[in-house]
């Protein structure tokens, strides 16, 4: 009671957040775990089946397939997003760049668009029969590319769209971090005769470590949970070649009405994300000290 009295103001100010967290995160998470132990179909009663959903899941080829595809996507996307957004941020921060204000707006625009719309835009651009890109290719006497019926080109389009959509946010993180690097460090380096590359490698990059850590962590989690973009871009296609784990959970749960089974799959995803987060925090934490 005493503790409550002492902490009542902090509690009051965080109260709404705590309630929201409990209602929209904790309760659904517990409910999800409970459903993963049942054969719930989305209607009627849920019968307790113990861990049989998990046993079945670990023997399910299509689950592993979508999980590994998600890993492949994450491993490809995260470094690319990192490099592109850092590159853009460096250019926007450079003293030699002209039209920074306009450029910032243009680079930031994609962030204001939802994943579904991004998907639709890229669908139009890369449409196989009537898309803009293929139109340009045929104008230049090239052969139309099967952007969506070949799994590798479809994967490339997804990666490209995801970079386009994800650069803005990360670029902003880098921009504000770049502003915080003391100019005196660069001036000292100039006096010592350092090249631009040396300055980047020995001053800029080490100073960006905390930001880099956060960008990579958030991008990884975001990539592992990718859904809206792929759903509207290729629907996981061609076939199931680009079906990622969240889409697998969605189709199992809502199209096939295996809510219990889908809940088990999302619990596994939760565990993977938790481990990833902990590992990255451990690494990031150490380098920050």
């Amino acid at each position: 009671m005493k503790a409550l009295k002492r902490n009542k103001w902090p509690l009051l100010f965080t109260g709404i957040n705590i309630i929201l967290f409990i209602t929209f995160f904790l309760v659904p998470a517990i409910l999800g775990f409970y459903y993963s132990l049942t054969d719930y179909k989305g209607y009627s009663t849920a019968n307790f089946v113990g861990f049989s959903n998990y046993v079945q899941l670990f023997q399910d080829g299509s689950f592993y397939k979508s999980l590994f595809r998600t890993f492949r996507y994450t491993i490809t996307l995260v470094p690319l997003v990192y490099i592109v957004s850092l590159g853009v941020a460096l250019m926007l921060n450079s003293d030699h760049t002209k039209g920074k204000f306009l450029a910032k707006i243009i680079f930031f625009l994609p962030w204001t668009i939802s994943g579904i719309i991004t998907g639709v835009i890229f669908r139009w651009l890369f449409g196989e029969s009537f898309g803009f890109i293929n139109y340009v290719i045929t104008l230049m006497h090239g052969k139309a590319v099967p952007w969506f019926t070949n799994s590798n080109t479809a994967f490339m389009v997804i990666i490209f769209a995801a970079i386009w959509a994800g650069t803005a946010f990360n670029m902003l993180q880098f921009l504000s971090a770049l502003k915080n690097i003391p100019r005196s460090l660069y001036e000292a380096a100039d006096i010592d005769g350092a090249t631009a590359w040396h300055k980047f490698w020995y001053i800029t990059l080490p100073s960006l470590k905390p930001t880099s850590f956060m960008v990579i962590l958030l991008a990884t989690i975001g990539a592992m949970k990718e859904f809206a973009l792929v759903q509207s871009l290729t629907n996981g296609g061609p076939g199931t070649d680009n079906m990622f784990i969240v889409q697998y959970i969605y189709t199992t749960g809502f199209d096939k009405m295996n809510v219990g089974y889908a809940s088990a799959a999302s619990m596994v995803l939760f565990a993977i994300l938790l481990i990833l987060g902990l590992v990255q925090m451990k690494i990031g934490g150490r380098t920050n000290e």
Partner: protein, 416 residues
């Protein structure tokens, strides 16, 4: 301060709890409650009919428009808490409702609803009436056909076979520089109509009623479907990567579109070339695949008798005809001639297709789905489409796809 904090917390908590209540159950009422979901024209149609009913009988019909995605959940919750609507227009029947559905056999009989679309329980009692029918059909870009100088059937006498159609569509493609010869929606509903037209029965219970199987004609049709995709007769991307078939056709660069009656309203407004609904080709059987929505009435509602009376009134010839005109429905009742605002010629073709379509196969998919889930079976999960997509993407063989589909049927319809 302490008090203020307590009040704040209590308010926040009570806010969370609002909306969880209402378990009081149905109170008797004279008003008829009707749940519908649909686009504006459909919603308006039911409201207009409700007004007419009130004018004629003095009984008010309260129409509640429920978003399509929420309708099933909403009705289920209402049924569970004994607060069901008197009447509801739904796309399927959930097992939880089955015990509470009013017997509508007499209405079905007097109205003459289409047998292949009327839902019966195991005692042969009608539990859901079809409100409207949709059917698979073929649209063509008549401008492209004209430009190529290729003819198409204009009466039921000269309907083409699939081979003839394929040849003609290819001619149009070659002469007009069209991108593809045809496009088919990426849906197993459309594919089923195709297999029926090849004389197949698609997937059906074996004679011992223990497991599902398919027949040679269906396999032939499926092979043909894969071949047409691989040859580039139709764009593979529609099936394998969800490219929008309707917009491909609307682009004006594809001669034919295998879709269905629900497109008529949209095409009437949004296409500026000369499009037409034409008779579908067939190899052995003239068939389509019907879909639709259903009207159900509940026993555990506030005014169940009033609800049934309203349904009976709605299915009287002149009233039902009016409903179809307002909503642009293809009637689910036999021998009804309806004048539509737009697309009359297309509707006429569809009506003839439905009248000529082989029964019961042409309504089987939809009625099976409704009847089986009503009985408490899990229902299909869409493995048919998914596995055909994998065949087109060369992930599995057609044999495996058939095995997967049969497994889905057995899991969904043969065991509970």
């Amino acid at each position: 301060m302490k008090k203020g904090f307590g009040i704040g917390l209590a308010m926040a908590l009570s806010l969370l709890l609002v909306g969880c209540g209402n378990g009081a159950g149905a109170k008797k009422s004279d008003t008829v409650r009707l749940f519908v979901s649909g686009d504006t024209s459909e919603g308006n149609a039911y409201s207009k009919m409700a007004k007419k009913y009130e004018k004629e009988t003095g009984i008010k019909v309260e129409v509640t428009d429920v978003p399509y995605a929420d309708l099933t959940t909403k009705v289920t919750k209402a049924v569970q808490s004994n607060d069901a609507p008197d009447v509801a227009r739904v796309s399927g029947v959930q097992p939880d409702w089955a015990d509470y559905l009013v017997d509508l056999t007499s209405v079905a009989k007097s109205a003459g609803t289409l047998d292949s679309m009327t839902i019966r329980d195991k005692n042969d009692k009608v539990k859901a009436l079809p409100t409207d029918v949709t059917a698979v059909g073929m649209f063509i870009n008549a401008d492209l056909f004209k430009k190529a100088g290729v003819s198409y059937p204009t009466s039921e006498k000269d309907i083409w076979t699939w081979d003839e159609f394929i040849e003609k569509a290819n001619q149009v493609k070659a002469k007009t520089n069209a991108k593809y010869s045809m496009v088919m929606d990426g849906s197993d509903h459309r594919l089923r109509a195709f297999t029926y037209q090849y004389g197949g029965k698609d997937f059906f219970l074996n004679s011992k009623k223990t497991s599902y199987k398919t027949d040679q004609a269906t396999i032939t049709a499926l092979k043909k479907f894969v071949e047409l995709n691989n040859e580039g007769f139709m764009p593979k991307s529609v099936w394998t990567s969800n490219e929008d078939a309707a917009s491909l056709f609307k682009s004006g660069q594809i001669p034919a579109y295998y879709s269905g009656s629900w497109q008529i309203a949209d095409f009437s407004k949004n296409i500026d070339f000369d499009w037409k609904a034409v008779y579908m080709p067939y190899e052995k059987t003239r068939a389509t695949n019907m879909g639709g929505n259903f009207l159900v009435a509940f026993k555990n509602s506030a005014n169940s008798t009033g609800g049934k009376k309203f349904v009976k009134w709605l299915y009287k010839k002149e009233n039902y005809k009016q409903l179809c005109q307002y909503a642009g429905y293809i009637p689910a009742v036999k021998n009804l001639d309806i004048k539509y605002k737009n697309g009359q010629a297309a509707y006429d073709v569809y009506n003839q297709e439905i009248a000529a379509a082989a029964e019961p196969i042409s309504g089987k998919q939809t009625t099976d789905q409704v009847t089986m889930t009503m009985k408490g079976y899990k229902g299909l999960t869409g493995a048919y489409r998914d596995s055909m997509v994998k065949v087109l993407n060369k992930e599995i063989s057609l044999d495996d796809a058939i095995k997967d589909t049969i497994k889905d049927y057995n899991d969904g319809y043969a065991k509970k």
